[in-house]
Amino acid sequence: MLSSAVGVLFDGFAYGMLLFLLSVGLSVTLGMMNFVNLAHCSFAMVGGYATFHLMTRLGWPFLATLPMAFLAGALISIVLERTLYRHLYRASDLDQCLLTIGIVFISVAAYAWFYTTEQQSIRVPDWLQGAQHVGGMTFANYRMFLVVVGLAITALLILFLEKTRFGARIRAAVDNQRMARGLGIDVDRAFMFTFALGGGLAGLGGALSIQVVGLDPTFALAYLVYVLIVVAVGGLGSIGGSFAAAVVLGISDMAGKYYFPWLGAFLIYLVMVALLMWRPAGLFGKR
């Protein structure tokens, strides 16, 4: 029984990495900048379709498309931030909801138009296929890859934000706009970069998730619920919080399906409700 427990923990952790990549950007924009960006998963879809397009239409290798997916997500978020979001930083959060839901609808229709409603999948390189069997335990290669990428991104993110001067400037601008402007920090540029970073990570997350859950134009709506759960449970504006929440929810979802499948979809919602009632501000929430 122990072997399957380790297997489930590993799968859960890998699935958590995926959820983390998809939601960390939203935790930053929603938490620190107080901007309700429900279109966050559309950025993920942009990254996903960028990878799909490069691989199937232009024959790029899988790994080469990942940075492009990041760029695609970052680019689309810069465009949206500069044209639309900028005007709504001081608007009510309800108006922000309406704007971003509108963008989700537009993205769903646009991708259905360009890529049809067909369920897309990609051929990852062989060394990412199949699984390693170690002492009765199965570790899927792709999931190991996800864990490695997830941990690397988390380390880079924390290093960048905590250690570099530019990272410090972003945290300052995002934490207290007025004070940061007082110190001469170009807050607009910091906001734009924060959105780009969040959008890029989502794009990367979208690209990485094709192999696990597939990709079709309704991705932006289907995964919005899960991303919101991770952000709320993790705590606004805290990268560590999102990481912890993504891992907890990933493992509990996987374990739920394995050990008490009759609970099915109830489990992840029960875990969310319980965690929120215990820690309303989230596991590591600042506010």
Binding site: L30, L84, H87, L88, A91, S92, D93, L94, D95, C97, L98, L99, I101, G102, I103, V104, F105, I106, S107, V108, A109, A110, A112, W113, T117, V225, L228, I229, V231, A232, V233, L236, G264, A265, F266, Y269, L270, M272, V273, L276, M277, P280, A281, G282, R287
Partner: protein, 324 residues
């Protein structure tokens, strides 16, 4: 001293009196019978969605509670009415009352948890309860018929007016119930309790400092909103004789939130105007272009937010003030 109290009471009287525009609006709701007889079933579903949006407005527009799971009460009302018609009797008016009570009980129970939270935690909890109820209805397929929807019941007519394909009695029934609930909502808004709700929305922290039991007020508002949402759900069951999991879905909760924000929250008419515009636009766009109409609805939402902040009514009243 008469002059002192006269100023004061005129201040409140002015707010309560019916504005001529309101009367014109409610007369216009009768036009579909004459102008668009073949769109009456659409009109009936718009009236039902308007009632659903009105119920959300009570807690969002007036008490500041953002809910992403309001379809839970809509669905409870819909299923109660359906199960009643299937196992007991299919007379709709009594069905409405029982559905309203059922939704109210569920609303009252959940309100004890919901009022203790704020901001994102509150939104996610309402969403969580909505999703849990949806899953419960799906797995209790023996009772609810699961994904295939509740089968084996029909609601033939209301007060000897047969529900038929043309939707005449459906629209009359939905509109009448919408109007009655609207009157109730209007009374509530202009009552002391309505003033207390607006106080909570304006400054929830100050309310205890003036001796207001905020949580009790919020619980009552949440329950009233649940009752009204349950009535809307039951109306859909009666007028279409169908009940499905979709009445409990996250999609319906998100749609009604979009409709209310589109129309403008906190103005009683926001939900109704939002429902008319959103559903007519959706019907026309999807008629022209069944596969990609989402694009145009998305564009409409973006345009409204960019040019009419605080929804259509909010934007118009701002333009009106600016022009004065």
């Amino acid at each position: 001293m008469a002059s002192a109290s006269s100023i004061a009471s005129t201040h409140f009287h002015a707010k309560v009196r019916w504005h001529p525009l309101e009367i014109v609006f409610w007369l216009c709701t009768l036009l579909p019978f004459v102008l668009t007889p073949s769109y009456l079933s659409l009109a009936s579903q718009i009236a039902i969605t308007a009632l659903f949006a009105l119920s959300l407005d009570l807690i969002l527009g007036y008490a500041g509670i953002v809910s992403l799971g309001h379809a839970a009460f809509f669905g409870v009302g819909a299923y109660t009415a359906g199960l009643l018609a299937k196992h007991y009797w299919s007379e709709p008016l009594s069905g409405l009352v029982i559905a309203a009570v059922a939704a109210g009980v569920v609303g009252y129970a959940l309100s004890h948890i919901v009022v203790r939270f704020r901001h994102l935690a509150l939104i996610m909890l309402t969403m969580g309860f909505g999703l849990l109820l949806h899953e419960a209805a799906n797995s209790a397929s023996a009772l609810t018929g699961g994904a295939d929807g509740l089968q084996g019941f029909r609601v033939p007519a209301v007060l000897s007016f047969k529900f038929d394909m043309f939707g005449r009695s459906a629209y009359a029934y939905s509109l009448a119930v919408l109007f009655l609930c609207f009157l109730a909502a209007r009374r509530i808004i202009h009552s002391p309790f309505g003033l207390a709700l607006r106080g909570i929305r304006e400054n929830a922290l100050r309310m205890p400092a003036i001796g207001a039991p905020s949580r009790a007020h919020l619980r009552k508002a949440y329950t009233i909103a649940a009752v009204m949402a349950g009535i809307a759900g039951a109306l859909l069951t009666h007028t279409t004789s169908t009940v499905s999991l979709e009445t409990l879905s996250f999609g319906r909760s998100a749609d009604v939130l979009v409709i209310l924000i589109l129309g403008g929250a906190g103005r009683l008419y926001g939900g109704i105007i939002g429902a008319v515009i959103y559903m007519v636009a959706r019907d026309q766009f999807s008629g022209i272009n069944p596969q990609y109409w989402y694009f145009w609805i998305g564009l409409l939402l973006v345009m409204v937010v960019m040019f009419l902040p605080n929804g259509i009514l909010g934007g118009i009243s701002a333009l009106y003030k600016k022009s004065k």
